[in-house]
């Protein structure tokens, strides 16, 4: 009557044993992969810090060169010297990077916020909105060099060329804005980081409970008043996170800049203490490009490792600390909302 096989599965046992062995193996394998990932990140960070730090701390052996008296490698890095191929030193490159990213942030912040506002607060969700959303999503995946190509063709040659025709016709064979420069580089980077700001802002806006908006409207506020007095202040931390992430991304981007205005050596800074304070049409130096240039045109490569690592350390520490600030902001934000129970 009863089939003995029903209760006696010799295979089940061995299958279970086999499964457990596979489980052990896979746990170990995936664990090893994780470990490898973490170790590689630590190793790389440590590598930069050790190599760059060691070079900076090193006493300078070459200071005997006439007229090049630097007390430390740190000064050499900042102000340059005969020992470096690009004689400018890293200080103008730092200034260039800072001015560029600040200008970019000033451009990208309002644009990103406005588009995010449109997507969450204004749009009806029809096909134009969907199209815009897809466009923004794809914008994030386009290689950065393509932005450079676009920036060169559209911003520099089309818009810049037109500006020259209209306002700087007297200089014309020599282009003023129709050549790569600071303004076009920051516009290109703004386009590049636009999705970052939009996505972060949108996330923040969506997290705000609609009861807040409805309450504000019920009390008689117009839509724009609701946005400026209620919605945006509540979303401020996410917006800030987005902008910080955008700045961090822009600070490390080099490829598009090579097409829209970065140079190896710029004789003057794009900022000055006299009017007009900011030379938008000028070419500029950039920390990331400095690293590229030192690496690419290094005759005795081994000797360059120290200074490249030191310049990298500067760049990486700025970017990593920006990212950590953004991360902490995000974590804190999440906690606030969890605690307030919305």
């Amino acid at each position: 009557m009863t089939n003995p096989d029903m209760f006696d599965y010799p295979d089940l046992n061995s299958a279970r044993i086999r499964d457990e062995k596979i489980n052990t193996l896979m746990t170990a394998a995936t664990g090893a992969a994780t470990l490898l990932a973490v170790v590689s990140v630590v190793a790389f960070l440590g590598f930069i810090v050790l190599l760059g730090g060691a070079w900076l701390a090193e006493e300078q052996a070459l200071s005997a060169t006439v007229g090049q008296q630097h007390s430390s490698n740190f000064e050499l890095l900042l102000f340059g010297g005969r020992e470096l191929a690009s004689s400018g030193g890293v200080l103008p490159a730092i200034v260039g990077t800072v001015v560029l990213t600040l200008l970019m942030a000033v451009i990208v912040a309002p644009l990103g916020i406005v588009v995010a506002l449109y997507l969450t607060e204004y749009s009806g969700g029809g096909w134009p909105t969907q199209l815009l959303r897809i466009g923004v999503q794809n914008l994030a995946a386009i290689p950065s060099i393509i932005y450079g190509v676009f920036g060169l063709a559209f911003f520099v040659y089309v818009i810049g060329g037109r500006i020259d025709e209209l306002f700087y016709a007297s200089n014309l064979p020599t282009p003023t804005f129709g050549t790569p420069g600071l303004l076009w580089a920051s516009l290109t980077l703004a386009l590049l980081t636009l999705p970052t700001v939009i996505v972060a802002t949108e996330e923040g806006l969506l997290r705000i409970p609609s009861s807040l908006r409805e309450g504000s409207r019920a009390l008689g506020a117009t839509r724009v008043e609701t946005i400026f007095r209620v919605v945006l202040p509540a979303a401020a931390p996410s917006i800030l996170t987005g902008i910080i992430l955008a700045v961090a991304r822009a600070a490390g981007e080099v490829a598009p800049l090579m097409l829209v205005g970065v140079v190896r050596y710029a004789p003057t800074l794009p900022v000055s203490i006299e009017a007009p304070f900011l030379q938008l049409e000028q070419k500029f130096m950039h920390l990331g490009f400095y690293v590229y240039d030192l690496t690419m045109h290094a005759p005795g490569s081994e000797g360059r490792v120290g200074i490249v690592a030191a310049a990298s350390l500067l760049l990486v520490s700025v970017i990593v600390s920006l990212n950590i600030v953004a991360l902490l902001l995000r974590v804190r934000l999440r906690r606030t909302y969890v605690q307030s129970g919305v």
Partner: protein
């Protein structure tokens, strides 16, 4: 009503501002694509000409009947040489004379520094009057004589002025010869067609071989060439005029010129005059778009002048005026894809493995600590990674290539070995599965396995590759370069693995835990429930993560610039360098003349890259949306 007018207006204006700005941003994104297409389009346009008035005064100027050749390339020499040919590169002068034995070639070398000169003579059979072309090749190492009968002779010129009679052969009989800029190729004008021949070197010996026949179609009446461009105006017997761009397989027929033209002559590189049977001659000017580019030339093997075989070459800017530009995009595409694929091979095991561990095995609290840390690498500027690797790691990596290959290869072997050991252990040890794998246990194990691999690689190098892999490979036909695809792929893998990890982990973590926990409660092992419950749901997400990682790798620029050597090659060897599309854009675009052919082709490259990443990204997004949808259903 209750809302004062000013506040209402404010509200209205802001709404308008938001909408207009968003639409503008949308248009800008669309504009990126459209602009590239617009710039690229002229590449594939048929050339056309616009009339520039009729030259009535010259209407009576009839061209001679029959065939007339206008030829004026700088190196073209008069047929009966009275003025000597100077070879500036070799400090030599050659002159030709009729001698008792036939043709005498006299070379005179003068050395300015020493102040001496020497004279040598070579006699050869032939008739000076029957010569249709005397010229040298580009390097001025050979003197080429082509006779009207089709016979040709190459004469080697030594540095000291010595001449040696070389290869001779025969070509189709012709009326005259046109020189093609670059001095590697010539065009024989025969009764009714044009035959392009080129100088090809095989085993150190040059020979003149037919390259292609220009398919004129209805018989040749008149041909005109302008220097230094590679364009020919051909008038056929039926009266139509064709514009030939050498290198392009078919001509552009200029229909607007009418069908009873007798000849067309260049006035300048873009202007030409057409003579007609019935009406006065007219001048025309070419419009843009005469580029000699076709899809076949960009993507199929092309037989270039002076090259042994058809192949893929990228050399868009000629070394000197008039040289044939080599415009194949294939080497750039191969370089890009090769490195991105190698990058994936390095990145996938680490990224997906880590994603499974962090997203599935690890408790949430630990996950929140580890994940942002790994993602930190994604925010690293790639220029820094590439720079340090290029300066510090690359030289060391090349030296220890066998050790590294050994360490990579041993991982699957080690996994199989571990599994085999577990399999043979008695059942009691099956409980190992429930033991927590701690980093403290894992780290030494990992180090042990990797170093065992390195030792294995070292050992293999000693025994199999006779002491040095780097010496062994080139002797077996695989050239090794210091900046090679393997290195680029490795660093690219390092740059894209956080991207893949982050997205794949997200896909795994998003799968509701209830399925897996339920399955574990019913007795399945964690891996079994991952494999059967979580993986089917998360798989599209993981695939999409890998695709996005691939897209990132394809578009990366700085790593390619600094580590790939940037030499365009069309092989798939892992030990040779490469040149990617992105690096080519970064290097060449700032120097390309705006609106020129090179500029347009670079934009075509950018457009290809754009489309490639766009397609990859869209597919990945679609996959991701599917997985999110599924996850919701299960919830």
């Amino acid at each position: 009503m209750s809302v004062p007018r000013q506040r209402f207006l404010q509200d209205f204006l802001f709404a308008g501002l938001v909408r207009v700005t968003s639409v503008l941003i949308g248009l800008l994104i669309l504009g990126m694509f459209i602009q590239m297409v617009l710039i690229v389009r002229p590449l594939f346009e048929q050339p056309s000409a616009v009339a520039r008035g009729s030259s009535a005064g010259l209407a009576t100027h009839q061209t001679e009947s029959g065939l007339q050749v206008l030829d004026d390339t700088g190196v073209q020499l008069a047929v009966t040489v009275s003025t000597p040919i100077t070879l500036p590169k070799r400090n030599l002068q050659l002159s030709l004379a009729s001698g008792p034995e036939g043709i005498s070639i006299i070379s005179e070398s003068s050395s300015a520094t020493v102040g001496t000169s020497s004279r040598r003579r070579l006699a050869m059979p032939g008739d000076l009057d029957a010569l249709s072309l005397v010229t040298t090749d580009e390097a001025e190492q050979q003197l080429l004589l082509i006779f009207n009968s089709g016979a040709y002779r190459l004469i080697k010129i030594y540095a000291d002025g010595r001449l040696q009679s070389g290869v001779s052969g025969s070509l189709p009989p012709h009326r005259s010869v046109l020189s093609v800029p670059g001095r590697q190729s010539w065009i024989l004008v025969t009764e009714d067609t044009l035959e392009q021949v080129h100088l090809r070197f095989a085993q150190g010996r040059g020979e003149l071989v037919p390259l292609r026949t220009l398919a004129i179609g209805q018989g040749l009446r008149h041909v005109s060439q302008v220097s230094p461009s590679r364009r020919l105006l051909v008038t056929t017997r039926s009266g139509s005029t064709q514009l030939w761009q050498l290198g392009r397989p078919e001509p552009a027929t200029l229909d607007m010129l009418g069908s009873d033209s007798t000849s067309a002559n260049w006035l300048s590189p873009v202007r030409f005059r057409v003579h007609y049977e019935s009406v006065p001659a007219r001048d025309y000017e070419l419009r843009d778009g005469v580029t000699g580019v076709s899809a076949a030339r960009l993507f199929l093997p092309v037989q270039h002048e002076g090259y042994q075989e058809p192949g893929y070459y990228w050399q868009p800017v000629a070394a000197s005026d008039g040289f044939e530009a080599k415009l194949s995009l294939v080497p750039l595409l191969i370089g890009t894809l090769k490195a991105a694929l190698v990058g994936l091979v390095f990145a996938i095991p680490v990224a997906v493995g880590a994603a499974v561990f962090v997203g599935y095995y690890l408790p949430s609290r630990r996950r929140e600590q580890i994940k942002p840390f790994i993602e930190l690498i994604a925010s690293f500027p790639t220029v820094v990674v590439a720079g340090l690797v290029g300066l510090w790691l690359a030289p060391r990596l090349t030296d220890s290539l066998p050790e590294i290959l050994g360490a990579v290869l041993i991982i699957p072997l080690a996994m199989m070995a571990v599994f085999g050991i577990l399999h043979r252990l008695p059942r009691a040890s099956g409980r190992i599965g429930s033991v927590k794998i701690r980093p403290l246990v894992l780290l030494p194990a990992l180090v042990l396995v990797l170093s065992a691999g390195a030792v294995f690689g070292h050992w293999a190098e000693q025994w199999i590759f006779q002491g040095s892999l780097l010496m062994w490979l080139p002797t077996h036909g695989i050239p090794v370069q210091q900046l090679n695809s393997l290195l680029v792929g490795f660093v690219l893998g390092f740059a894209i693995f956080p991207v893949i990890f982050s997205l794949a982990e997200e896909a795994i973590y998003e799968v509701p835990a209830i399925g897996a926990t339920g399955s574990i409660a019913l007795g399945a092992t964690p891996w079994r429930s991952f494999q059967d419950v979580v993986l089917p749901v998360a798989a599209p997400g993981i695939v999409s993560a890998v695709m996005l990682g691939f897209g990132r790798g394809v578009g990366e620029t700085m790593i390619f610039l600094l580590l790939s050597g940037n030499a365009p090659g069309s092989d798939w060897s892992l030990f040779s360098g490469l040149r990617s599309l992105s690096a080519t854009l970064a290097i060449e675009l700032p120097e390309a003349a705006v609106g020129g052919q090179h500029f347009q082709i670079l934009f075509l490259g950018a457009l290809l890259l754009f489309i490639l990443t766009f397609v990859i990204n869209t597919c990945a997004q679609l996959l991701r949306q599917r997985v999110i949808g599924k996850g919701r259903v299960r919830r």
